[in-house]
């Protein structure tokens, strides 16, 4: 078997031996059942996209928190405990260790988000509420895409960190920047400084608008707009609003490129940092 997949499988099966994970899994299940029940108990007024929409919205938050907190310690923690020395004394390359761990964690988080959304849809359908199959599938896929972004950010952070305290600080940082939307404060601050330390007036320049749209959750939202527009509202709490008109940087293809970059780049940067590091 491929050594990369060996690492992935180890990471995945190892997590399954973790009791804490069951608590987390139960939480996802509970949220899924809750959504399904709510939809089912309002079956007359519900529409087919309600369950996928609420499910995606819940996973955007819960899944991201789970992805960050389950991944940020995965490489640097092994480095601190000495596990990395053992792995790298066996014939694994650092590439295999980093990307294998990334895939393992991703599989785990995606299993949780998928399970949660699927259970919500199933319960709602059993209780007689309408559930759009295509929307449900889209919600599952886009939740997975979002998870890939956050697992990549966290694994990249973990591979690039020297010690676990800094990785933990970085994890809180990811949380603040992306889920509490500090990201959008950046252009405001930059413009404030550029404007001679006073608040600028007038419309935002294009670079500020682009900056807001390359936020990963916004990018995912912009992709969704081209596939299943009814679902975009799920991410309204986590992503900046849309500008007037339809500039290129809110189009689905642009969003897809940005999402792909968010999935590939962070973990790769972390790997490049680790590749030449002395253990």
């Amino acid at each position: 078997m491929n050594r990369l997949l060996q690492i992935t499988r180890k990471d995945f099966t190892d997590a399954i031996r973790d009791r804490q994970l069951y608590a987390l899994g139960a939480l996802f299940l509970l949220v899924g059942l809750g959504i399904g029940y709510l939809a089912g108990s309002n079956a007359e007024t519900a529409s087919g996209v309600d369950v996928p929409r609420i499910g995606l919205g819940a996973m955007a938050f819960l899944g991201s928190v789970a992805a960050i907190s389950m991944s940020y310690n995965q490489i640097v923690g092994k480095r601190a405990s000495g596990e990395l020395r053992v792995l790298l004394s066996l014939p694994f390359s650092r590439t295999e260790v980093v990307y294998g761990t990334f895939l393992g964690r991703l599989a785990l988080v995606v299993a949780m988000t998928t399970g949660s959304i699927a259970v919500a849809g199933a319960l709602a359908a059993v209780l007689g509420a309408p559930v759009s199959g295509s929307a449900l599938l889209a919600a599952i896929v886009f939740a997975a895409g979002l998870m890939a972004v956050f697992v990549s950010l966290s694994i990249g952070l973990s591979a690039g960190s020297v010690n676990t305290t800094r990785a933990a600080a970085g994890a809180f940082g990811l949380f603040i920047v992306f889920l509490f939307r500090l990201w959008e404060g950046v252009p405001v601050a930059v413009r404030y400084v550029l404007n001679g330390f006073s608040f600028p007036s007038g419309p935002s320049p294009t670079w500020a608008m682009v900056w807001r749209q390359i936020q990963p959750i916004a990018a995912v939202r912009n992709v969704i707009a081209g596939v299943e527009p009814d679902l975009t509202v799920a991410l309204v709490a986590y992503a900046p609003g849309l500008p007037d008109g339809e500039p290129y940087y809110v189009e689905p293809w642009f969003g897809a490129t940005v999402v792909l970059a968010w999935i590939v780049l962070p973990v790769t940067l972390g790997y490049l940092k680790l590749r030449t590091a002395d253990l």
Binding site: K10, D14, R17, D18, G82, E83, V86, L87, S89, L90
Partner: protein, 301 residues
């Protein structure tokens, strides 16, 4: 082809120089003991062989593979018991071994390895719950997985009780008989003396001696020690012994005479004692590897 070939390796961490122009060759099939004070650069040398750290200058080869460019092929043929290791997550001992076998693409029976390192009954327990000695045995087992051509053992007896240390020595012996090259770093000189064909002594990042232990003894011009315990030490006996050829030192500890001398002089000295008074006990010792070590590394005392 040499098993390990290190040429002109230096390594600096910031402004600290860990290794200084190190050249070392370990032949295939030999058991090589790697000694040196704390901080001499032993672990750094091993880390370079495994590509855990990269040399500032110089290069190292293992079985002809460059350790940086071909790190994975190096580690495919090498079994390692690293220092400062940690358990692989929450896996059991058996799954650890299965994992190592799979990584090396080797066939092998985990239970046989567990038996061999003496933790046969602990295979299905989580390694997190192992004692330090059990972990050490498991790590040795993982190093043995896949019958490596080179074994690198960094302080393998740390935390092992005497039974475990003996078993470890037996395993090293058996591996060496099978033709495996063993690179063995340790502070416990009795262990090194018991298993190693040759030793290298590293001091402050430089190799100060490479030889067999007997060779080191001869080179250091070391002599033996003789302890003669008497009911009482008669006047004049110390002077008589000091006159003899081959005697380097005479000290009195209570009613025991401690004499440093060449081996051939021992008989005559004991005869002197016998004639002078009542001898209760006689003990001899050779220069220990410890003394040799201290003389090469300039340790205090």
């Amino acid at each position: 082809m040499a098993a390990i070939e290190i040429s002109g390796v230096s390594k600096r961490f910031g402004d600290v120089t860990a290794l200084q122009n190190l050249d070392l060759t370990v032949e295939e099939g030999e058991v090589f003991g790697f000694l040196g004070p704390n901080g001499a650069g032993k672990s750094t040398t091993i880390d370079i062989l495994l590509d855990h750290v990269r040399p500032t200058v110089g290069s190292a080869q293992v079985f002809g593979h460059d350790t940086q460019a071909a790190s994975v092929p190096v580690r495919e043929r090498t079994g390692v018991l690293p220092e400062g290791y940690g358990a692989l997550g929450r896996m059991t001992g058996r799954t650890h071994l299965e994992f190592a076998l799979q990584a090396k693409r080797a066939e092998g029976d985990p239970q046989a390895i567990l038996d061999r390192v003496g933790i046969a009954e602990a295979g299905d327990r989580r390694v997190e719950d192992y004692s330090k000695g059990m972990k050490q045995r498991l790590m040795l087992g993982m190093a043995l997985a896949g019958d490596p051509d080179l074994l690198i053992l960094d302080e393998p007896t740390t935390g092992l009780d005497p039974n475990g240390a003996r078993r470890m020595r037996q395993i090293v012996q058996a591996e060496a008989d099978r033709g495996t090259t063993v690179f063995f770093s340790s502070h416990i000189l009795e262990q090194v003396e018991a298993v190693c064909d040759r030793v290298g002594i590293l001091n402050q990042g430089e190799l100060v001696a490479v030889d067999t232990i007997d060779g080191l003894r001869e080179a250091a011009g070391a002599t033996g020690q003789l302890h003669v315990t008497m009911s009482s030490i008669p006047d004049g006996l110390v002077e008589t012994i000091e006159q003899r050829g081959g005697v380097t030192s005479v000290a009195v500890e209570g009613t025991t005479l401690a004499v440093g001398c060449e081996n051939a002089a021992k008989g005559a000295i004991v005869a002197d004692c016998y004639e002078a008074g009542t001898v209760e006990n006689v003990e001899t010792s050779e220069t220990s590897l410890e003394d040799l070590f201290v003389s090469y590394t300039g340790g205090e005392n």
